[in-house]
Every structure is written in C-alpha cells, then in structure tokens.
Assembly symmetry: none
Homo-oligomer: 221 residues x 2
C-alpha cells in the first residue's frame, strides 16, 4: 500500500497503524514521489492526501491513472471540501474520506476497496465512435480529432463517464462547474449546444439528447 502524505507525523501514524493491520506500507511525501513510486513499485492500493506541497492529489491521481495504473485510490480530503469529493472521483479516485476520520473507518474502506480489486477502466473513454483521453485531452469522433475548449471537454467527459444516463442540469453544474445550482442560468444548455456543434453536427449525428423536464443524455448505440 502506498501512502501519499506530506505531514511526517500523519504518515508515521498511518504507517504504524496499517502495518499493524498487516499491510506493507510505502510512504511518499510529495506528488512527484508518489507518481514515481506508483510506477516503480507494485502497489495494491493508494491512500492519497489531496493537500500536497507540489501537485495536488487530483493531478497525482490523474497522472497515475494515465500511466495505466488502476490500483484503487482512496482520497483524503479536507473536511468541508465538497468540490474535492467530486473532483476526486472524476480524477479517477475510487473513494474518499474526509478528515478528521476514525482509523477504523479508514481500514474498513481500505478493505472494501481491496475486495473490489483494481478498477478495470480503460485509459481512454469510448462511447461508440467517440473517444476522449483524459490524459492527453484529445477527443476524436470517427477517427477525426475534435477541438474543444476546457469547459466543453469537461462537460463531454462527464457525459462519457455516464453514457446513457439522464444527467440533470444540477448534476452537470455540480460536477463540471463546481458550484451549487441556483437556477436562472442556462449555461448548461449553451454548452450542450456548443458540444453538439462540434461533436454531432459535423458528423450528421445527434448523440446528445435533450430529455425535456429532466436534463440531457449521451445516447449510446
């Protein structure tokens, strides 16, 4: 198990506790170290603090994922940081735990993750002939690359992580925009239109469906 934590005190505590539970523990104190160690050593699970001196936890997680490592990641977030949870899950974390936490809760979640095993996810998201690589941020449809802005890409990525599901405006705003939905804005509508113009129209398709009164859905098949 790889523990990524910059506070010496905390990491010692975790190491001791986890070793007592029978885990073999390596510690990385920075994001760079963590990425390197995840690459170099066989790791069954990763315990990842969001706050790190160099990169933040999301970035670390994304890079580990894009290196093809799908070991379960349990992310430790600051206590009120709701966007963190969301960001963490989108970056490829498998679970999160807010500080402060009880050690028994930590071990329970670790056991759950290990039971589940590595999350079998491909690096590149694919829905029909549409593909999106979160690592390189390259999007293609029918083999042709599509240029998207940051926001458009984030939105499409969220759609592709939930293919076929109806996603409400509120859900989309919370995940893609990171703020609470207060109504009165049609920003989701606008960005769906942008996406349609880049991802659908040039190919004569309409994979982004409107579900009246509910939200939008990326059609699959």
């Amino acid at each position: 198990m790889l523990v990524v934590e910059d506070s010496q005190k905390m990491s010692n505590l975790l190491r001791r506790g986890l070793e007592e539970e029978g885990y073999a523990v390596d510690v990385a104190a920075s994001g760079e170290d963590a990425i390197w160690m995840a690459e170099e050593y066989p790791v069954d699970a990763i315990l990842l603090d969001v706050m790190l001196p160099d990169l933040d936890g999301f970035e670390v997680c994304r890079q580990i994922r894009s290196a093809g490592n799908w070991a379960p990641v349990l992310m430790l977030t600051a206590r009120d940081a709701v966007p963190d949870r969301v960001g963490g899950l989108d970056a490829g974390a498998d679970d999160y735990l807010t500080k402060p936490f009880a050690f028994t809760e930590l071990t329970a979640r670790i056991r759950a993750l290990l039971r589940r095993g590595p999350s079998e996810r491909p690096t590149v998201l694919r829905v029909d002939d549409l593909s999106l690589d979160p690592a390189t941020r390259i999007v293609t449809r029918a083999g042709q690359t599509v240029d998207l802005t940051a926001r458009e890409l984030a939105l499409l990525e969220y759609f592709m992580r939930h293919p076929g599901e109806v996603l409400s405006r509120m859900q989309l705003i919370e995940h893609v925009w990171d703020f609470a939905y207060e109504g009165g804005s049609n920003i989701v509508d606008v960005y769906v239109k942008y996406l349609r113009e880049k991802v659908d129209r040039p190919f004569g398709l309409s994979s982004l469906e409107t579900v009246r009164g509910a939200g939008y859905r990326l059609r699959v098949g």
Copy 2:
C-alpha cells in the same frame, strides 16, 4: 417527498433540485409543521434537517414514527456531529448526510432509501415485459423503448411501484401531481389515455385497467 428545513434559501434549492429529479416535493419550515404534514399528506420519504426553530430533528422523527409513519427518513446533520448520527438513528432515521453535501450524493441516498422502501425493491422496475429505469428514465416494453413525457413517466412509475393495486384518482394526483385532489378535473383520465396510447396500444395490450368507480390498476400477469 417531504422536506423539513427552516432556511428558505436551502429549502428552495432542495425543492427545485428534487423536482427536477422527478420528485413531488412538499416543504415544512418547522418541526410542528413537519409532524402535521407527515400525518396529513401521503409521503414516500422525508428529508429532515436536525436544526429547526422549535423542536429538533430527533424529536420530530420520534413523533412521526410514533404516529405510525414508517416512510424512510434521511436526516441532515451538522458537519462533525458524530453524536447526531447516533441520536438520529436511535430516533428512527434511516440514513444521515452531513452538511455540506453534493446534491448528487443526496439524490443517490434518496434513491437508495426509496429502493429499500417497505420491502426490498430492485433499481429497475419490472412488471411483465414492461420495464422502467428511474435513473436513466428509459422505459421499454417487449424490448422496445417507449418515449414518455415527464408527467407520463411519473405516472407510469407510480403504477409500476404498485402493480396490481387499484389506485384512486386522489392517490394518483397526490403522488404524481403534488397537489390536493379537488375533483372537477379529469387530468388523470387524460394521462392514463396517453399512457395507454404509448404503452398498450402499439403492443395490442391493455394492461392499464379502468376500475369503474374506484380508479385504475396496472394489471400484472
């Protein structure tokens, strides 16, 4: 669904969000109101803030329970209040969520609670060859997808959650339309007709039965 929350801003937010998810929402701003409304209106689930101007959430929950109401209760607690969790569960809550929370987390837990319901229910509703997935809002009959509007879907879902039962117009209006039945409207009749045209007629069936003088029934088997 009954939302008990004294902050106007919060309750508006919740109402709007939940309605967008397809729930019919009533709001109570105090403990007294909540107890009264839980008694007076048919409620499938209760979202209950712990901090209220008059009684606290635990007391409200206890009283609702002792009135014989066993609708699932999801309690909203202050952030670190571990004792709250315990108290809440003791008082008869089914689940708790600490503020602040992501709206998607809220809806996930609500779905889980409703799924549990009085008896174990699967995520996808099935009655014979008719299936309805509340998450994706996809309805199929005999493997063929059926397009429904928001209202039609809500009505069909209610029928499918009570297969074989005779449902009165009053019951249907209260659950699907979220307002008190005042007679004089045949809106249920109209929507049953719409459903029949989409769900029955194309398949040469008549699963939505009229029970003269009583209401309607979704025939099973």
